[in-house]
Structures are given as C-alpha cells and as structure tokens.
Amino acid sequence: MKKIFLHPLTVRIWHWINAVSFIVLIITGLQIRYREIPNLTKFKTAVDIHNLFGFILVLDFVLWLVYYVFTGKIKIYVPLNPKKFFIGALKQARYYGYGLFIGEGNPHHSTPDDKFNPLQQSAYFMIMLVLMPLQLISGVLLWDIRMFAGWIELLGGLKIVDIVHVIVFFFLFAFLFVHVYLTTLGTTPLEHIKAMFTGYEEIEER
C-alpha cells in the first residue's frame, strides 16, 4: 500500500461545497415540487434557499471549470483514447459485477493524472460536462422566467425547460446514492471519504 496525493485543496473545497449544495438543493427541490411530502419549510422559504444554493452551485461549478481547464486537468474527465477506454470500461464493469465479489483487485489504480477508472470517467464526464451545465442553465432560466423569456422560448418553452431541470434532478439524485456507495469501495470503507478531506489516499501497489 502506498499513499498518494490525489485531491488538491481546490478540488476538495469544490467537492464539499458541491456536496452540501447538492443535498440542500435536493431537499428544497423536493419541497418545491412535492408539497404533499412532509413539509419541512414553507414553499417560499424552500424557493429562497433553493435559489441561494443554486447560485452557490453555479459559482462552485465555475470554480471547478476554471481550475480544471487552466491546470489542464480537465483531460481526466475526457476519454482521449477510445480503444483503451473501451477495454478499461469492460474490465472495470467486470470488476464491479464479478471481480469485487470474489476478491479480485481493482483493475484501475488512481494517480493524480488518471484519477478515474473508465466507468467513473464516463459517468463524471456526463455529470460534469453535460448534466451539470444543463441543470445549472435550466435552473438559472427558471429563477427569473421573465428576464430569460427569450432563452426559454428558444429552448422550447417554460414547460420544456422545467422538464429538463426535473429529469436531470432525478438522474443526479439517483446518482448520489451510487456515488456515496462507491466511496465505500476503497481499501477501507472510509478511505475515499478520508481522502476527500486530507487529499491523500492509500492505494494498492501494483
């Protein structure tokens, strides 16, 4: 086992702001959309909190984008070699679906330049470069419908923008459970979580 520095401070700050915002936005989002489920807050309060954390998430996303683009680390999200990605994804799927159960080692070993296994890479690529922009843009448009009326019209109308926001919400909400579960699949159940606080992670040596 060896310790490597996997998560720089900027990434860790971004991650935890992201995590808190996600949870608050999910709860308030549910409160806004489903008033019939247990009421934690008034609709107006839920909207106000949702708007506040929505903008925090927007700024956090900008922080993430600027950091990853300017450090060039954005490439860790992008499968540059399709063949390698495809083979790696199959191996990783086999690991999660079979190897892990019989005690095989993880075929992917994280490094600062190759942090994600191919399945993580494709999932985070979709989340960070497709779903998050969709969610943030649709959220901002819905925040002030009159101000962004032209944009909303361009995207197909109010109902369409709202549907996009809700569909992405369902996927991100569902992914949250998978994401949290995957954090427990380190060398120890808390290894990945600790690493997101300290930046250092213990990984198996090859």
């Binding site: 489903y34 008033r35 008034k42 019989i102 819905l142 109010l158 369409i160 569909i167 369902f170 998978v178």
Partner: protein, 581 residues
C-alpha cells in the same frame, strides 16, 4: 269636524249666497236698466256684465264635492285679447242660466274641466281638429288631453299670436308638459311628458328642444313611427353624436356599441338586446352633469348589472365608496364610461388596478418570487377576491405576432362553422383532451401558413361578477401552496378562451388533465406551474430512476454480503501462498 273647518265651510256658504245675490241683483239691474250696464259699452260681452258682476272678484272660487277649490275669477281685460274675445260667456257656458247658477256642485275639478271642454266642440268641428296631423294624432287618442289642458280656458290665444309669444322649449312644453304619450307598433307606450324641472336640472338646460330635435320647429312637427322602444332609443341616441363625437368614437369600439348600434347602414341589435345606448344610461331629458354619475346612487350600470353591483357594494371598493371615500372606484373608474370593453384575457383591468395602486409591483417583489411573471399571468382579482372560484384560461397565440387568434380567424383557418367547431372540440362531452388540443394546433399550424401556435395560460376568476368582490389586502391569497401544489383547486377548471372579433369570449371547456398530461407538453408548453401542474408520467419516471439509484447499491451490498466467504477464502489462500513463498 274641527271648529276651524266649520268656520271655513260657513264662510264659503256665505260667500256663495252673497255671490248669488250679487249675480241676481246685477242681472236684474242689467235687465231693468240696460242702457247703464257694461254690456251696452261692450257689445261683444252682451251679458258679461251680469257674469262679471261676480267673476270680476278675485276672491270668488268654486268648491267641488271633493273639496277641491278653483278660482272663477275672469280677467275681463285679458279675455278681450284672446281668440274668444268676441264671444259672450253663454256662447260657451250654454248651460248657465240666471235661474240655476251656480247650479249643481260638480264632483271634482277634472270632471268640471271635462264637461266644460265639451263646449269647444260647439264651434270646433272634427275636421278642424284633424286638420293638423299632430293635433289629429293627439285628438284621436282615447286618452287625449282635454282642450283646456293645452289651450287654456279663458286665455285661448290665436295660434300665430300664441307661437310668437313663446320662446324655445316653452313652445314645445305647451303640449309636452302634458301627460301625452305615444304607442309604438309593438304596443309599447312611450310617455311624451317632459318634466320642466328635469330639463332645468339637466346638463342640457341651456339648450332648446330643437338643438337636439332638429326636425321639430314651430312650423314642423313630423310624426315618426318606431317598431318599439328599443328602436326609438337607438335612433334618438344617434342625436347625441352631433355634439359628442369624441364620446361616440370611444363608444364605437366598445362592447355596448357592438351589441346594440348600427352595422353599416342598418340598425340591428346583436347579442344582448338590452345592451345600452346613450339614453339608456343618460336618460332622454334628464342628462345629468358628470358629477351626478360619480355617486353610488348615480351609477346607471346597475340598471342592467344589478347582480354585479350587489357584489361590488360589499367589496372593499364599494364599502369605501359608501363611506364617502371619493377615491374608491365606481364602475367607470375601472371599465371607463364609454369605451367599455371585454376585459377577460386582456391587461386592461390590471392596468387600471396598477394605475391607482402605484408601487404595487415593488410591494409584491418583497415577498413574491418572479413577481413580473406572477403579475402578468394572474389576474389581480384571482388573489384579491379570495373567495372567488378560479380557473385557468388557455389562449391560442400566434407566436409570430404574439397576438391571440380570434374566433373568426380560427373558423376561417379551419374552414368550419362555430357550431361545428364546438362539436369538434368536445366530442366526448368531457371537454377538450390532450389529443384534441394538440390536433387543433397541428391543424392551425398547417393551415395558417407558418404561424406558430401555442397556448398561453392565465389564472382568473371563473365568473367575472366575482372579480368585483375584492377584499382587504390582508385577506388576499398569498400562500404559494394555494397554487404550487398538486391537486390545487385552482387548476380544476380549465377553459380554452377565444376572443370574438365583435367582443365577448367563446369558451370551450378543457379537461383539466391536459395540464398534467405528457401529450400536451408541447401544445401547452408555455403554461407550467411548479408543483401545481406536474406531469404525472414524469413523476413516475423520476421515481423509477431514483429507485434504481437506491436499489443498485443495496443489490451490490447484498451480493457482497453473500459473497464474503468467497473473498475470505481467496484472501486466506493468497495469505497461505505468501507464507509458503
């Protein structure tokens, strides 16, 4: 009987006796000494001296059975100047004789007048009475006024002399202050009685009758016929336009005009036959000053809209007005006086509300997210008349122009009639469903060149009368949950509202399910209320996705638990292999 009345009766009896004595003595004197009598000096009034012996007294009066009293004083000098100045008293009062005068006591003044008027016909024949058309019209009526009612009794003037002595409306009022009337072809009766006091207090009190009734002069009095009172009112309201062209221009675009005035050159009544014309609100001769209409009691609208007025009277505005708050609006403050128009699906009323309640947008912004949006799609009354029933009104909008399609345009584009369209839009009797809604848009898009059609939704009260029951600000609906929750009662009634070109609105009931159906996602893509009009299918799909997200880790963990012995065995094997190395 009181002592006072007894004294009065006794006095009158004495006066009568004295009158009779004077009449008898004077008559006898005239007969015995004819050369000394007044009749000799004035041969035209041969026996007037006898009569005037008593009737020159201003105190002489006639008392009828019903206790009415009438002066029988004759101003001899004036009488000489009348048309009948050459006649003697008995030419008309043929029944009066010295032997029996004053004779029997007549029942009442009106009976006496009727009996006396009969004397006119001694000289004035039927053909003479009917020589003038209007005189004939009046004279032939069963309830025609008595001759004396128009011409007087002892002051009958020659017509040219009479006309020249009267000015302006006095000339007309000679007849029209009488209880005369006209009967229309429909049998309706129109009173032609003009109350001079109404004229005096009207805004038109400086005008002569002929300023409005231009065809009527001292020499001309055409007889007009109308089918009924409605036609008469419409025709006479046309007169107002001569001076009030500005008001007429405003009126021309109004819903009242479209329902009641002329189309082209033809006078017709469309829609509501009670829709008002000028005289229905302002009256014929009682046109009041503007201030008269600015009082609760002066509102003419309530004649037809009494139900709405009752609601208004209980509203915050009505109560404030009743308490004397002059800034509180009356009907015309919001609807305007002449340019009254259909307000549903327009911003007109909202503009009026915001005109008085300045800064209201800022006040709403303090607590209402997306204030402009809320204010643009929700009618003020929807929240400020909290007890009113609400509904959603969908409107077909041409996105190219941003204007709603009118009923006429839709019929033209679809090549159908109003009845066919109604039948087509509600084939199941449950209101338009999502498929029908989408189909209409598809057809309109196909036939309306490249017009992009969509539905815009607004929330308003269901009954427009309820829009008047505005309440105090503290009672207004401000709970977001009222709308932003599934099953909100405000979304139970949906209507496709189509404005008619001539005013008014055609309403087609819509099945409320269209607001939550995935099928109408694109057709009603501009109307969406977060939480309130959730698409049911989307919710189900979302629950499935989230359920998968939860199930996946649970399934994986479960398999991990069951396969733990495999990993343990493998680890032991690897450990053992390591040790053996």
């Amino acid at each position: 009987m009181h002592k006072k009345d007894l004294r009065k009766a006794a006095g009158e009896k004495v006066l009568h006796t004295l009158s009779f004595l004077i009449f008898s003595i004077t008559s006898a004197y005239c007969l015995v000494f004819p050369g000394l009598s007044g009749a000799q000096k004035l041969p035209v009034l041969e026996n007037a001296g006898a009569c005037m012996g008593c009737h020159a007294s201003k105190d002489l009066a006639m008392v009828f059975k019903n206790k009415e009293k009438m002066s029988v004083f004759i101003a001899q000098g004036d009488f000489r100047k009348t048309a009948h100045g050459a006649l003697s008293c008995t030419d008309c009062h043929q029944q009066v004789s010295l032997e029996a005068h004053p004779g029997r006591v007549v029942e009442s003044r009106s009976v006496f007048a009727k009996e006396s008027s009969g004397a006119c016909r001694n000289c004035h024949s039927d053909s003479q009475l009917k020589a003038k058309a209007n005189h004939a019209y009046v004279a032939e009526k069963t309830d025609a006024p008595l001759c004396t009612e128009c011409h007087g009794a002892h002051n009958v003037m020659r017509i040219p002399q009479w006309k020249s002595s009267l000015r302006g409306k006095e000339y007309c009022l000679t007849c029209h202050r009488r209880n005369i009337s006209k009967t229309f072809g429909s049998g309706e009766k129109l009173s032609l009685l003009i109350d001079p006091s109404n004229l005096a207090s009207s805004a038109h009190n400086k005008h002569d009758c002929s300023d409005c009734h231009t065809e009527y002069t001292g020499d001309s009095h055409p007889v007009k016929t109308f089918a009924g009172g409605r036609e008469h009112s419409i025709a006479l309201s046309g007169i107002c336009r001569k001076c009030h062209e500005g008001k007429f221009t405003l009126l021309k675009g109004s819903i009242h005009y479209n329902l009641s005035f002329q189309v082209g050159e033809t006078l017709v009544s469309r829609g509501n036959p009670k829709a008002p014309v000028c005289t229905d609100c302002h009256g014929f001769h009682t046109v009041g000053p503007k201030a008269a209409y600015e009082t609760v009691s002066g509102i003419p609208c309530r004649k037809c809209h009494e139900d709405i007025f009752r609601i208004y009277a209980k509203s915050v505005h009505g109560m404030a007005r009743a308490k004397g708050e002059h800034k509180a609006p009356l009907c015309a403050s919001c609807h305007f006086a002449h340019e009254i128009n259909f307000t549903a699906m327009t911003d007109k009323i909202k503009g009026v509300c915001l005109g008085c309640h300045k800064g209201v947008e800022g006040l709403h912004k303090k607590w209402l997210p997306n204030t402009e949006l809320h204010l643009s799609v929700i009618a003020c009354a929807a929240c400020h008349a909290p007890t009113s029933e609400k509904g959603i009104y969908l409107q077909l909008i041409d996105q190219k122009t941003g204007k709603p399609f009118t009923h006429g345009q839709i019929l033209q584009l679809l090549g159908t009639t109003s009845e066919e369209l109604s039948a087509r839009l509600d084939t199941h009797g449950l209101g338009l469903d999502s498929y029908q809604l989408s189909y209409i848009i598809k057809q309109l898009n196909e036939r309306g060149a490249d017009a992009k059609v969509t539905y815009l939704g607004q929330m308003d009260v269901n009954k427009y009368s309820e829009a008047h029951q505005l309440s105090l600000k503290k009672n207004a609906i401000r709970e977001c949950e009222s709308c932003h929750s599934k099953g909100s009662k405000f979304f139970k009634r949906v209507t496709l509202a189509v404005i008619k070109t001539e005013g008014g609105m055609e309403r087609y009931p819509v099945n409320p399910d269209v607001l939550t159906s995935i099928i109408s996602t694109f057709s009603s893509r501009q109307f969406y209320v977060i939480g309130g009009t959730r698409i049911a299918f989307l919710d189900l799909a979302g629950i499935f996705v989230v359920f998968c997200g939860i199930l996946l880790p649970i399934a994986h963990v479960t398999i991990r638990v069951f396969t733990a012995p495999l990993r343990k065995a493998r680890k032991s094997e690897e450990t053992g292999r390591g040790k053996s190395k």
